[in-house]
Every structure is written in structure tokens, then in C-alpha cells.
């Protein structure tokens, strides 16, 4: 059967992957309520088109962190992509660049960050190239990593703050994580101080969790703009920007860490409102459950500057390498363009809250 949407890619990936890899890549925390709810929340928003608008010269170009890009969509940071497909993070980076989408490379990348960056950095039509970081208690190691990231040409740093301890992922626990020979997190410290058990919460792991003070230190260490990923509370978002973060990524980690968090489509509006009030220039990005061009359109209509897409890109990679991931992103772009044309939006900045239908909106 021909593949015509992202769900088809998901089915193809499930067929291509082993059980453990499927459990790892597709699974969510606990009862996977947030995982399902992320998808449903975008679907439940209703569009409100205007007809007969002038669409000539329309396009999807957007501005992020002071530069123009072809599309307001980036591939989310995801660990161990070489477990999904031999082309791994390199294939993903090529796919993203080919479709004008950005890429956020995971701290737990299974391909060296220099290799990934080198592959696409000079592509004029590519999207943004960002690096995602988990906090490391060893500040020296952190500084070393920052230096590499900057040298390789990444344009922003994404600090993930929503996973100080491992999530309860039941499906993953059933299967374990039998990483194939040769696949590992190449930039991950062999023996992280995090692993020293103590008497605090979660066998002491929680004691090593980063705090706002650590964030402040990190921002001072790098010339790159820093985004905090995993923000769900408006006050945390405002706090981040106050401390000098360039923006936030509204995310519940794709429902992988803590179950029964609200869907990101529910969280986004109040965070946009809080951030815009005091820091109109700060970036608000969102991810979780985006599976259609209409979903991406709705994220922009709710005020996001851009969105990340996680699992679907991975699924494309899993069953067909870079070509598969590129097809996923291409479908997203085509559907976004069709949604713009059908709602009467020639440009990204035309996509406002008035393009969402609500009982109160007239």
C-alpha cells in the first residue's frame, strides 16, 4: 500500500523494527495517557478559514533567532537513532536539510556531533541546527561539550529540564534496551556522577538534578542562545526568559517521562501569553503529538514560533532511512501549505488565533 500520511510511516516502522526497539521508540510513560492525549488535543482544535483571500506569492518562510528559514519545523532531539536505522542521525540531518526543516541533535546521539553538523552545515536551504543537552553534574565535562558544540557550528543550545530522573516507561521496561553492537550515546559520560546512589528520592538520582542556579551558570558559559525544553508552567517559562534564556520549548517529552501531564496543545496558550507579555522577542517552540500539517498550523495559530516533530521522523528513518524521514517532513510541508491555502493564509504571520474556531470567538 502506498504511504500517504504519517500513520502509514508509523505502521511501516513497527514492521521494520524489532520489538524492543519499537517499545523504546514508540512507548510512553505509564498508561500512555499523555502520549495519546498529545495527539488528540491537536485534533480536537477546530479551524476557522477565511475564503477568497489573495494567496499570490505565499510561502512558509519564517524567522527564528534572527535568521530566515524555509519552514517553522525542526526534528526533535531523539536518542540512539542508529538503533532505528544504520543511517542514524546523519540520515536524519540530511532529510531535514533536504526539506528545509531544522534538526535538534540529542545529547544522546549515537553519531558524533561533528559528523552530523559537517553533513549539512553548509546547505543554504537547510533549517536551523541546534544541540540538545542534559545537565551533567561534572561541569568540566559540560564545558568541554559546549566547546565542541560551538565549534561544530550548532546555532543554539537546548537544555532539557523535564527529565531529572528516568520516566516510568512500562513497555520499555518489559523489553529492556538491548542496544545493538556499536550503537551507543557517543557523547554521554561513561560514568556520570548521577549514577552514585544516595538516600534521596529515586535512589538518590534526584539529588543530582539541575536547578535554576545551574541554568544561570550554563547561560553564562556559552555564546549560543539557550532554550529550555520541557517547560509546562507559565511561571517557569517566564523565569527562564528572565534568566537570559532565548526561549522555551513547551514539551512533555512526548509523554515519555511523566504520565497524565496535560497535552502540549493545552499548555501552549497560557505560556505564550505569559512569555509574550514581558518578553515579546523570546522564542516559544512546542512539540508532542504533531502528526498533520493542520496540527503544525494550529501550533502556530496558538502562538508558537515553530514546532518540533519527534517520533514520525524517527519512523520514516526506521523503515527507509533518510529517504523515509524526508518523506515524512515533505508530507508535513505539503499539508501545511494546503492548510494555509485553504484557511486563507498566504504567509506564516497570517496564521493567528482567529484561524481557530471556538464557541466564544465571534
Amino acid at each position: 500500500q502506498p504511504i500517504v500520511n504519517l500513520q502509514d510511516h508509523e505502521h511501516a516502522a513497527q514492521a521494520a523494527l524489532g520489538d524492543a526497539a519499537w517499545a523504546y521508540f514508540s512507548g510512553g510513560a505509564a498508561d500512555e495517557i499523555t502520549l495519546r492525549h498529545n495527539v488528540a488535543a491537536w485534533q480536537n482544535l477546530r479551524l476557522s478559514p477565511r475564503v477568497l483571500q489573495d494567496l499570490r506569492g505565499g510561502h512558509t518562510r519564517c524567522n527564528l533567532l534572527g535568521r530566515e528559514w524555509p519552514m517553522p519545523l525542526l526534528v526533535a532531539p531523539m536518542a540512539y537513532q542508529r538503533w532505528a536505522h544504520a543511517e542514524g542521525e546523519s540520515g536524519m540531518a540530511l532529510a531535514a536539510a533536504a526539506q528545509g526543516c531544522g534538526m535538534v541533535l540529542s545529547h544522546q546521539t549515537s553519531t558524533p556531533l561533528h559528523d552530523v553538523a559537517a553533513m549539512v552545515a553548509s546547505d543554504a536551504e537547510r533549517g536551523p541546527l541546534w544541540f540538545q543537552l542534559y545537565w551533567l553534574a561534572d561541569r568540566g565535562a559540560l564545558r568541554d561539550l559546549l566547546a565542541q558544540v560551538e565549534a561544530a557550528g550548532f546555532e543554539a543550545l537546548v537544555l532539557t529540564v523535564d527529565a531529572p530522573v528516568h520516566g516510568v516507561r512500562d513497555r520499555e521496561r518489559r523489553h529492556g534496551m538491548p542496544l545493538p553492537e556499536g550503537v551507543k550515546a557517543v557523547h554521554w559520560p561513561a560514568s556520570d556522577p548521577k549514577n552514585k546512589p544516595s538516600t534521596g528520592l529515586c535512589g538518590g538520582l534526584a539529588d543530582a538534578a539541575p536547578t535554576w542556579a545551574d541554568v544561570q551558570w550554563l547561560i553564562g558559559q556559552t555564546r549560543l542562545p539557550v532554550l529550555l525544553k520541557g517547560i509546562t508552567h507559565p511561571q517557569d517559562a517566564v523565569q527562564a526568559v528572565k534568566l537570559g534564556a532565548a526561549g522555551v520549548i513547551v514539551s512533555n517529552h512526548g509523554g515519555r517521562v511523566l504520565d497524565t501531564l496535560p497535552a502540549t496543545a493545552e499548555l501552549l496558550p497560557r505560556i505564550v501569553q505569559a512569555v509574550r507579555q514581558h518578553h515579546p522577542q523570546a522564542l516559544v517552540v512546542v512539540d508532542g503529538g504533531i502528526r498533520r500539517g493542520t496540527d503544525l498550523f494550529k501550533a502556530l495559530a496558538l502562538g508558537a514560533d515553530a514546532a518540533l516533530i519527534g517520533r514520525p521522523a524517527l519512523y520514516g528513518l526506521a523503515h527507509a532511512g533518510a529517504r523515509g524521514a524526508a518523506h515524512v517532513l515533505r508530507l508535513m510541508r505539503d499539508e501545511l501549505e494546503a492548510t494555509m491555502a485553504l484557511t486563507g493564509c498566504a504567509h506564516i504571520q497570517d496564521i493567528g488565533i482567529d484561524r481557530l474556531w471556538s464557541l466564544e470567538s465571534f
Copy 2:
């Protein structure tokens, strides 16, 4: 099994049609959320009958565009009806006329418009005969077509404005559109300027989309009343009527073009309110998901002057030709009459908003 409702016709049609035709005729955009929601939204409205009313001499006759007709129901414009059944648009026209229902012939009709009109124009007990148009960038071709439409005796023009680019219909894309030998859109331009790719949205297709200025031009070209089909926003409805349109058809194209649009039962009330406020004489018609006499009754109770019915009529045609389509329309009429009698409405104008139950309505 005997066929007693429109769902039975749907099952019979699915059995009669090939996979590709079934996908084309029954399919909707993307995840088909709006397709399902259209049906559910009528079902979810609750009736509020009054008992012991005087029903003597009751009937379903109604007035549309200055003339009286037997029933406030028309068959919606649907392309390629000869792909569903050899009797095609001619069979559909006969069926509609036989049941006192109107017909809107599609711009993409697979039967010449003169043949269809000639078949029923002189029937005294038939319903309205309207012609549906998509915008053509070639104004000369448009003018030619208008002349033919007027000459053939069509009584109104329906300009569809909700599909400037093709919808994302996944099921249809899986199957393609293998039109049988001899079935084609007989009035469709062989090479539409629309097909010239450019750099705008949707490979440039969006650049050829009509604007309000084009609508104004069109209204000036014809002596027929013009209705805009595919209106979902109250301000667009008001704008249409202000520019001289005779009315609007509240429609999301049966969920075929853009998914996650609101159900038309949700859209209708505010459009009725906005239009009636300034233009009490303008027509408001609705379509999408009408499957029961109670659904039609509810559309009228929400303020519509008439409704269109799409797929079910097609399904009747598909498995039993004109006779099948006529049976569908007959069921609708019988159910409408029963609903009127059981809610205490002797005439169409008795069907008011007070016949719908709501927690606030007392």
C-alpha cells in the same frame, strides 16, 4: 435484507462499487474527523416537541429564491456521477424531480449540462435546478459556460469557494482515480491555467485561487442569483451577501477538503444570525452529514432555508440508479414529515429554534 434507511443504502453502495470508486465517493480529508463529526453533530442535537397541535393540512412546501417548491432539500453537487452508475447525473436529476427535491449539478459533471436540464426542466413538481461552478482563471471560458448554464434553464449559480487547492484525501490517494473509459468532467477545461506550477503555496496552485474581486466580477456577469458554497465564517457570509450574492451555502465540502473544520451543525447558527441581521431576505442553505429526516428538521430549526444532501443520494444511485437515489430522497421526505407531525409542526415555517431542546432554552 430490506433497505429501510440511508445507512442501508451506504452499505449497498459499498458492495456495488469498486474499491477506488468507493474511496473517492465516501472518503474525506486526512483523518476524516470532520466527515464523522458532521454526522454526529446533527445527531447530538435534541428535539423538543409540542404535543396535541393541530396538524390538519400540513405539508412540506417551501419558498426559495421567490418560488414555491415541494421540499426544502436539494441533491448536492457531486462530480463524476457516471463513475458511480451509468445513469449518472441524468438519473440523479430524475430521482430528485420525482421526489420534489432540487438538484445542484456539479461543474465536474460527467453528463452535459443541457442533457441533465432538458430531462427535468419542464417537470411541474420538481425542485430547484442549480448549477455549481469552480472559479476558472480563464474568464472567457467562464463567460461561455455561464451562457450555456443560463440557456439550459438553470435557476441559480453556486460558486464553490472552499477548495482553491485540492484537499488531502488519504483514501483517495491510496487508490488513485481510475475513471472508467468514457467518464470525464465534460465541462472542465482540458488545460486549466491552474495547472501551471509556480513558486507560491501548493506548487503555485494557490496563486490561481479566486478572490472577493473575482466574485464581484462573476455576479456582474450573470442574471442568475449567485450563492457562495463553502462558507464557514459569519463575516464571509455577510461579505458575500453585501457584494450581491443571493445567499450562502454553509458547507465544509462534506469533510473532503480540510480536516478538523467544525461540523456544519455547529457553524450554522452564527452564520444565520449574522446574515439575518442585515439581509433578512438572503438565503442560507447548509450541507454535510444529513442522514435522517430529523437532521433536515434540525437544519431548518437552526434557521436554514433548505439543505443539500450529498453522499447518500450518490449511494442510492450507485447500487440502484435513479430508483435508488429516489428511494433515498423518499425516505428523507417521509422521515421529515413524521418528524414534523411528532414535534407538532404542520408547516415548514413552524419549525423554529424552540423545537430544539437545550439546557438553557426554558
Copy 3:
């Protein structure tokens, strides 16, 4: 498997009845939305018990139309009970009397009304004995019937006003109504004037529907209290009582006549409120979807004086005759008593609206 609740009786009945009888007895109008919703609406109400109340000497006795009865529950009028089981209406009357429940005999009874009344009239522990009537255009025939009903000892007259024309029951239409040899509506006029087709709604059947004037005439013809059955609008309820009716039965005919009516649990509160305001002594009875003692308790808590139970009693009869119907009613009584004890209500009059939980109720 032992039968422990009314659903078990339903399954047993389905197994015992032929397809056509099952379709007739269990079916509802159109998509059976109201049929299902009736049941769900009682289930969705939440109880609010008070603990540690004094329950000594508690009982379920109640007062209806000036007399005390063992239970506020009657069997609803249902046609053709001999089609369900040879013991028919006589068996049903015995079952009801044995459990202290009342019975409303249908105008379309398949057993002569005198036989049914004679069987139980003298039982000291039985419940009320009422007769249900459909309007007949032939007033002479109506007067004759009234005389028989009064003579036989029925204590009230129930005029059903919600079915002036036949409902659209799809399942029944598929199977027809192949009444067995010897089963017929013994008091139904052989040739009702209703059957003379004319040009009005529903082939003219609607022209013979009763009006408020007919109700007034009927009330004047009998010394029995008259209840109107099939009331769903507060103003109709008030109108009925104003014209001299002893009360109303809030009913949507068990979802058999017009689909997408509200559930009776939704309709009841506003009718109770409207009637009580002006006519505190008038009776308000309710039926539709009552399947548990908790449902009956909720009907009383919402202000009903009593409730009718339809299909479940029929199901008991269908598979096990009078014994089966009696078991159904016994289960209802046991569950009502348990609900009273567990919510802290020793007597029927303790069952107030404060025993229903709602977000606003504190």
C-alpha cells in the same frame, strides 16, 4: 448462569423470542440514540448518601392519586404481550400484583381488559391499575371503551399523546410484525378512521391526530383521573394539568417513536418544577430506561411520584411468564430498598434532590 439483574433477563428474552418479536419488543426509533440515552442518563446521575441515619421501620409505601400503595413502580403499557408469552397481559398483571407494583394496561392489549382486571382487582397488596388509551377519531367508540374501562375497575386513564403517527422503527421495519395466529389488539378498532389516507403529512395520518380540545372533551367524559403520557415540554405539562388532567407521564415512549429526543432523566426536573409551581397536587410519573433500583431512586429524587418500567418486565415475561416478570419487579424492589438503606432514606419521602450529587450542590 443464574439471573441476578435485569440485563440477564434481557439476554434470556432475546434467546427465547424469535427475531421479529425481538425486533418489535426491544427496538427503538431510527438510530436508537434516545433508546440508549435513556439508560445512560440515569446511570450518569451520581448519588449522594448520608450515613448513620436511623432506618428503623423503613418501607417503600407511597401515595398516588389519594391511596397508599406498596411501591412507587408500575409496569408501563405495552402492546401485544401475548406475542411475548402465552400468559400475556394476565401474567403481567399477576406478576405486578405479586410484587406490590402497579400495571398500566395498553389500549393495544392482546387480552380483554375485563379479564386482566378481574385477575387482580381484589388483591389487597397489589399496586395501581390503570388503562392506557390512544385517541380514536370515532368518539362513539371512545365512549364505549371508557365505559368498559370504568366498569372493569381501572383506577385511572392514561392518554398517550406522543405517537400521533407511527414512529420510524428501522429494526421493526426489517422484520415486519408477523403476529402469531390468535394474537391481536382485542380492543383496537378494526378499521380506524385514522387509516383513511388524505393529503396532509404522513399520507394524511397526521390529520387525525388529537388536539388539546380533544383532551378537554375526554376529561369531561370520564369520572376517572386522566394522565397524559408522552409529555416532554414543561409548558405542555402545565397545560395538561390546567385543563384538568390529574398529572403527566414524562416519557419519550421508550425511544420508540422519535429519535434524538432528550433522555427522560434530562426532561424530568424542569417538568417537575413547572408543574409543582402551580399544581403541587398533580402527579408526575416518568418512564424510559429504568433498569436498576438506583435508577428508580433517582427518578424519585428528581421529583417524580412514581415510575413506569417497560421492556425489562416484558423480557421477564417473555422467557419465563408471570414468574419471570415478577422476578424483574422483585429485583427492582430489592435494589430500591438497598439504595434507600445505603443513602440513609427510611421512607420514600426522604428521597429528595439532596440525595443526588452535583458539583453545585453544596
Copy 4:
């Protein structure tokens, strides 16, 4: 398959138990609406984490009735645990103590109360040890039992007030209660006066139900703090505390007694509010449907001091004895700790209502 959550334990228990035992232990009243709703109501609450909080030295220790304990979780009183597994109540007590959880021993324990208490009383790291009581009409027998309970070292008395008569448990009624040879309620009076049938509700059983006066008497008879279990109404909660109860357990008996009671997650907030207003020191405990660490976290966030867990602990016991029950409690503790870390709560008292997300909460 490895067991990674409480649902896995449930499946294992169903496989291990006979049909009748399974029906008894897992079943609920009537249609089991409340049973299912208890679980769903916790799931439907959404969490609202704060990131980057200082988590060092975090733990789950809590204070109940004037003493510190390792965890705010106790095993609920459940009858006949030896029917589930030979280790019965002794195994359960060991499991609870091993995980720092408390235990409430049922009045219908199948193991003598002294044996159970002796097993764990001296464990320094155990949780609270409470005894649950049903009211007995024979006050002498009650006084005897109280003396034994106090002597054995139980630290509080839990009087269950929500089951004055037996619930309508359909699944249990289908199977009966074929207690195995040697399993019985060892402290239950052989012939309870309750069993003397009379003419009141429920064959007279309701006449023996306790009243507020009885509660007052009981509180006067013992030096132990008394909690009332089965409270669902704020005014009953306030009344209990006014009469000298140490607190209340908000419970619908796990949906086993009266169906269509609200879920305890819905009941809890208003009871907390009512009790805290006048008696800030009184204990509010909750049970019903707690299956995840997030559920327990939510109970605490809504204001409960602690929660009970019923069936899941029983399921662990049923298929693997004390080891199984301990694993259930361990999973609960691990998940609670992870939830605390991931929401930014280092200590139990940090878990406030602001950690729950709601549309109004900002």
C-alpha cells in the same frame, strides 16, 4: 512477561484465582460504574510540574496521628485474605511493613488479629497498624473486640459506616462465596443479631444499622483514635469530627456497595475543605481506584493526609504471597518518588493543589 505495573499484577491474580474468588475480590456493585470511575477519575486529573527545583535530601516520610512514618500509604481493610493466598493477612502485614506502608486489618480477617499484629508490631520501619470494625448490635461483643484490638497493639480504629446492608454485587452473586475449608472471618460473630429478619428495609437488616449515637458511644469506649470509613458527604465528615472522631476515610468501598456513587477523587476536595475549615488537625484519608504513584500524588495534592490501596495489594498477594504484595507497594513507592522528583516536590508537604493543572488555576 515481566511484571512492571499494578495492572500486570491484576492479570496475574486473575490467572491464579478461581472464578468465584476472582468475582469476589475484583467485583463491584451492580454495573460497576463507580468501580471503573474510581480509576478513571484519578487518571483524568492533570499534573502541573515545576522544573529545576532543589530536590536534595527529598523523601516520602509523613506524619499521621502524631507519629512519623515512611510513606503516606496503607493497605485497605479487605476480608478473607486467606481465600486469596495461604499467607493471608500475615503475608499482607509483612509486605506492608517491608515497604514502609501501613495496614488496616479487616473486621472480617481470616487470621486472628493478635497473630497479624505480633508479626509486625515491633518493626521500626513499618507503617501504621489500624483495625477496621463493622458495627455490631451486640455491644458486649463489641467491647470484647475493642479490648483485644487495643491489647494487640493496633494504633487506631476504623469504623466502616457505608455498608449497613450488603451491596448488590452481581458478579459475586453469580458465583456465590464458596470459602475454602478453614477460611472464615475469625472475629465475626457466629450469629449476629443483624441476621434477625424483621419488617423494615432489606428484610429488616437495615433496622440494625448503626447511627450517630452509636458512633458517639463507640468513641467513648476506646482510648484509640477512631476514623469513620465510607464518608462521601462533607457534612457527614464534619459531623464525625465534631463527635470526636480523629478523622475520616473518604471511600465508596471501592465501588463494591452502591453503584453510581461519585469517584472518590471527585468527593475528596469538598470534604477536605469542609473538615480543614473547622478541624485543621483532623485526618482525611482516601481510597478507591489508586493504581499508580501519580494517583497517590494526586490524592495528596487534593489534600489527603494519606491513602489506602485495596485490590492491587490483594492481587499481588493472590499470585505471589507476601512477595507479590510487597512488589505492588514497592512499585507504588518508586512511582511516587519519581512523580515527586518530576514535579519538583522534595517532600510530601510540597505536594499542594498547585501541582494539579486546571483551566482556572493560573
